[in-house]
């Protein structure tokens, strides 16, 4: 082969090889079996990350000077469902958080009752799965305190958050779930204040959960009900959350 031929051959081989590889990757992404192989990384991320860190290790907290000028809202920013609109119009005076499922004492709490629970204030960084970060100051009821009131049954393994919002054109309600390890973490709070004011609608009024060791999509906004469950495989898409049902990891620690 002459030099030119060889160069042409190489260039073509590289282009064809590249297209073949990328086309192959796309076909693998569409397959049923290959994403399941890739999913083993989520198991490794969860088990190894948790093994390497103390159970109650705290996410970094920042001084006031770090607070972002705007806490960028993402996902739903103005839920349209009529029941929520009515609550919002009344300044959430009629709001009740329902706590149900595998608990000894199911209950329903007003915002005043939630404010009366032991609280925590924290200035933390919010990391979106898209890659950006903002810092805000959150105040809310400790989820652990609420769980102590309702007394989870021994079978309860997950805390599920049911929300008022739908996303995009779908009519599927947002929902999320965490396990007991994150539910009892000291920084896991049901936040009713952002930057010393009641949480604005675009950030999840009247109540959004903060799970500081995971990504933003875990931190459900517009929470209407909390349900304790043994398993989430039979609930909605079966993956434990709105974005999880659409391919994102249930464990969002990275």
């Amino acid at each position: 082969m002459s030099g030119i031929d060889r160069r042409q051959f190489l260039a073509r081989a590289l282009t064809a090889g590249g297209a073949f590889l990328l086309g192959g990757c796309d076909r693998l992404s569409q397959s049923v079996w290959f994403p399941k192989v890739l999913d083993s990384a989520e198991f490794l991320n969860r088990t190894v990350q948790r093994a390497l860190t103390p159970r109650d290790a705290l996410a970094t907290e920042f001084p006031e000077s770090y607070i972002s000028p705007v806490f960028r809202p993402n996902g739903s920013t103005d839920p349209q469902n009529p029941a929520y609109r009515a609550l919002a119009a009344g300044g959430f005076r009629d709001y009740r958080l329902e706590v149900r499922g595998l608990v000894e004492h199911p209950m329903s709490l007003s915002l005043d009752e939630l404010r009366a629970l032991p609280s925590r204030t924290q200035i933390t960084r919010h990391d979106c799965v898209e890659g950006w970060s903002v810092i805000g100051k959150w105040k809310g009821a400790r989820l652990s305190a609420l769980l102590d009131r309702v007394q989870p049954l021994p079978a309860a393994r997950y805390v599920m958050f049911h929300c008022a919002d739908t996303l995009g054109s779908s009519d599927a309600r947002y929902y999320e779930s965490i396990d007991m390890l994150d539910a009892y973490h000291p920084q896991t709070i049901l936040a009713y204040e952002l930057n010393d004011r009641t949480v604005p609608i675009e950030n999840g009024a009247p109540l959004r959960v903060r799970i500081e060791r995971q990504l933003g999509y875990k931190m459900a906004k517009y929470i209407m009900a909390i349900e304790l469950v043994e398993s989430f495989v039979d609930i909605k898409g079966g993956k434990g959350g709105y974005w999880e049902d659409r391919g994102y990891e249930w464990y969002a620690g990275i």
Partner: protein, 291 residues
């Protein structure tokens, strides 16, 4: 007497001028090299897809949305055509067709930072890109740890990678030789040259670990124990920027590496990384061999 000297000389010359084959790369090194290539290929391209989800880099703990260091975005020009704009330190460059705006999977020009032919998967699909990225990140780390362990244990590191005193003394000439594309031939090609050793070591000791650590620095869970490291580099968004820059440095290494592989004998180099066998060609001028 004279003839026997000539004979000795001639036979010595003969062994030097006959091509011989050496066993250059052991099987574990070859396997780990190609696993590493696969990992870096997929990590880079799935990384571009992840970057596309928020195509801007910042310095500090948080995102200062109005002042990114680097951003790739699209807007419509007066004719209504989609144009790609890349902003670097406040300077705008039109990069239509490549960065910011390019032909998407549906065939029309769409707003996307890196083009479909540079991302895994091709279409916009953050969730799937993350799965690819984390799976191959684990493979990359495990393969890298095995490589380091093997290299220390088999003395590959001390024998082949660590620069000798003579290497250090010859570094100036090695730089000139590389610039003039003058490559070691004959017996000298059997060993790595000093710049080659230093660039491999830089990738293994600095870039590899750094890209992994900056990836972990972005993890909100690992932040609970690596907060000091995140702070050390200036914050999570700084870590994300460094992760990106190191990836660019690894691409630069890749292109230089492939260039050198081609100009120093593509077939011979490829064979040595596939079968292990590397042919030492005789040099026309035997004085080359001895210096």
């Amino acid at each position: 007497m004279a003839s026997s000297v000539a004979e000795t000389d001639g036979s010595a010359r003969d062994t030097l001028s006959r091509p011989r084959t050496i066993y250059r790369h052991t099987l574990p090194i070859r396997i780990m090299h190609w696993i590493n290539f696969l990992c870096m290929f997929i990590l880079l391209l799935s990384g571009f897809q992840i970057f596309n989800a928020h195509a801007a880099l910042y310095w500090g703990e948080t995102s200062h949305f109005d002042g990114p260091l680097l951003a790739m975005d699209a807007r419509r020009n007066d004719e209504g055509e989609m144009i790609g704009i890349t902003t670097l330190f406040g300077h705008e460059f039109e990069t239509t067709g490549f960065l910011g705006a390019s032909t998407g999977s549906r065939g029309d020009v769409e707003r996307r930072a890196f083009p479909t032919w540079l991302t895994i998967p091709g279409p916009r699909w953050l969730a799937m890109a993350r799965r690819w990225h984390f799976f191959f990140a684990w493979l990359f780390v495990i393969n890298g740890l095995l490589y380091v362990t093997y290299s220390l244990w088999s003395r590959h590191a001390s024998r082949d990678l660590a620069p000798t005193r003579a290497d250090w003394r010859g570094i100036g000439r090695s730089i000139v030789d590389h610039a003039l594309l003058r490559h070691p031939r004959g017996e000298a090609a059997a060993r790595y040259n000093v710049l080659q050793k230093l660039s491999y070591l830089f990738v293994i000791v600095v870039l590899g670990p750094l890209v992994v650590l900056m990836g972990l620095a972005m993890s909100p869970h690992m932040n609970t124990v690596l907060g000091w490291m995140v702070e050390l580099v200036g914050g999570r968004q700084s870590a994300r920027t460094i992760h990106f820059i190191v990836a660019m440095a690894l691409i630069a290494f890749f292109f230089v590496h492939v260039f050198e592989v081609i100009v120093t004998g593509l077939a011979n180099n490829m064979r040595s990384m596939i079968t292990g066998r590397y042919k030492i060609k005789p040099t026309e001028d035997s004085s080359d061999v001895r210096d």
